[in-house]
C-alpha cells in the first residue's frame, strides 16, 4: 500500500515528544502535549497549481525532519497507522542534524 499526497500535501510520520523534567523523570503527558509538532516526511505531493496553470514545485523533500504548527496538519489513520498530512505552508522549518 502506498499513500500518494495530492497537490501541496505532505505525508508525515509525527514524532511525539516525551515530556521530561530536568531531573530525568518522565511525566505523564496530557493528550494536547502528545500532539506532535515535529515529524519525518514520508512522501510529498507534486505541488499546487498556480493561477496560470503551472505547478509550483515543492521545497520539502522526502526524508526531511520538519517542524510544523501543532494544529495545522490533518490527523489521518490508514490501516491502523497514524499519519499527519500537512500543506507545505504549515511547515515552519527543517531540522538538520
Amino acid at each position: 500500500m502506498k499513500i500518494k499526497p495530492l497537490a501541496d500535501n505532505i505525508l508525515i510520520e509525527g514524532v511525539k515528544q516525551e515530556e521530561q523534567t530536568k531531573g530525568g523523570i518522565i511525566l505523564p503527558t496530557s493528550s494536547e502535549k502528545d500532539r506532535p509538532e515535529q515529524g519525518k516526511v514520508i512522501s510529498v505531493g507534486p505541488g499546487k497549481i498556480d493561477s496560470s496553470g503551472n505547478i509550483i514545485p515543492m521545497e520539502i523533500k522526502e526524508g526531511q525532519i520538519v517542524l510544523f504548527t501543532k494544529y495545522g496538519p490533518n490527523e489521518i489513520k490508514v490501516d491502523g497507522q497514524e499519519f499527519l498530512i500537512a500543506k507545505q505552508d504549515d511547515i515552519l522549518a527543517i531540522i538538520e542534524k
Copy 2:
C-alpha cells in the same frame, strides 16, 4: 438513477473504519469516529471554471481510493443510500493498494 457531480465536486462512497484493539477486540465506536475519512470515488465533476472561463481538469479519477479531511465533504442521502460529496481540494491523498 445517476448522480452527476457539478464543477469540482466528487461523489464518494465512504469507508467507515472499524476501531480494533491490538488484541483484536472490536470496540464500539463513537459517532465521531464513525465519520469516514477514506472512500471510493464513484463519479467526478467536469472541473471548476477558472477566471478566464477555462475548465481546470480534475486529477481524481473514478474508482480511486482517496483520503480526505473528516469534516470537509458534505454528507448526502439519496434514495436511502449515504454518499459524500467532496471538493477536489478536500482530497488529501490517493491510496494505491
Copy 3:
C-alpha cells in the same frame, strides 16, 4: 405570479425525504432532518456577471433534480408556499432518473 431569480440564484422546490426504516415503518423526523437537500429547479437566474462585465452562463436548467448542501440555500415563503433559493455554487450534483 412569477418569481424571477436574479444573477446566479436558482429557485427550487425542495423535496423532503421521508425517514423510513428497513422494515418499512416511517419514523417521525426531527425538524433538522426535514430540511431538504434535494429539489426540483423551478427557474434559473441569468447568471453572475464576472469582473469584465460578461455574464457567466448557468449550467443548471429548469426542471432538473438537484442535490445541494442542507444549509446553503435560503428558505423563502411567497404567498404561503415554501421555496428554496440557492446560488449555483451550492448545487453539488444533478440526479438523472
Copy 4:
C-alpha cells in the same frame, strides 16, 4: 424629505407576512417571523464602482417587488418610519404579479 441610497444600496419598504393557518386563523407571529423577506423598492442607488472606476449599473428598478435574505438588509428608522436598506447582492429574486 428624500432618502437617496448610495452605491449599490436599495431602499425598500418591507412587507410583513401574516402567518395564517389553513383554516384561516391568523396566529400571533413571533418577532423573528415578523422580519420581512419581501418588499417594494422605493429607490435605488447609482451602482457600485468597479476596480476600473466604472459604475456597474443596477438591475433592480424602483417599484419592483423583491425577495431578499431575511437578515441581509439593514433596518433603518427615519422620522419614525421603518425602512430596509439592502445591497443588490442581497436581492434574490423579483416577483412579477
Copy 5:
C-alpha cells in the same frame, strides 16, 4: 482644534433618535436604541488610494445628513465631545430635507 479624517474616513456628529409613542409620550430608550444611525457630516477624508496609486474621490460632502449602519462607525471622544468616524462604505444613504 481640527479633526482631519484620513483616507476614506468621514467624521460625523451623530443624531440620537428619541423614541416616541404614537400618543406622543417619550419612552426611556435603552442604550442600544441610543446608538445613532443618522448624523451630520463634519469633515471628509481625501479618499482611499486604489491599487494603481490613484485617489478614489469621495461622494459624501461636508454638511450632508447621512444614514449609516448602527454598528459600522467607530465611536470616538475628543476633548469630551463624542463623534463617529465611518468609512464611506458604511454610509447607506443621504437624506435630503
Copy 6:
C-alpha cells in the same frame, strides 16, 4: 535605545483620557475606558510594499496627534514603558491643535 517600526507600522505614545463629569469631578475609570484612542506619533515605518514591489509612502508623520480605533493597535512594553504599535489603516484621523 531606538524602536524602529517595520513596513506600515507606527509607534505611538498613547494618551489616556481622564473621565471628568461636567461638574469637574474626576471619576474612577474602568480599565476599558483607560485604553487610549488618541496618541502622539513617535516614529513611522518606511511603508508597506505593494504587489509590484514598490513602497507605498506613509501619510502619517512623526509628532502628529492621531485618533485610532480602541482595539486596533498592539500594546507593547519595552523597558517598562508602554507603547502602541498601529498599522496606518488603524489611524482614523489627525488632530490639529
Copy 7:
C-alpha cells in the same frame, strides 16, 4: 543540530520580561504576562515567493532584537529548548540599543 526556517518564517529566541514594580519588587507574573513579545533573531527564512514566482527578500536579519505581537508567533520546542517562529508580518519593529 540546525533549524532552518522556510519561506518568510523567522526563528526567534524569546525574551521574557520580568514584571517589576517601581519600588523594585519583582511580582509573580501570570503565564499570560510570561509570553514574550520581544526576542533575538536566530535565523531567517529565504523569503516568501510572490505570485510571479520571485522571492521577496527578508528585511529582518540574524541577530536583530525584534518586537512582535504576543500571540502571532508559534511556540515550538526542539530538544527541550523553546523557540518562537514568526512570519515577517508578525514583526512590528526592530529595537536598536
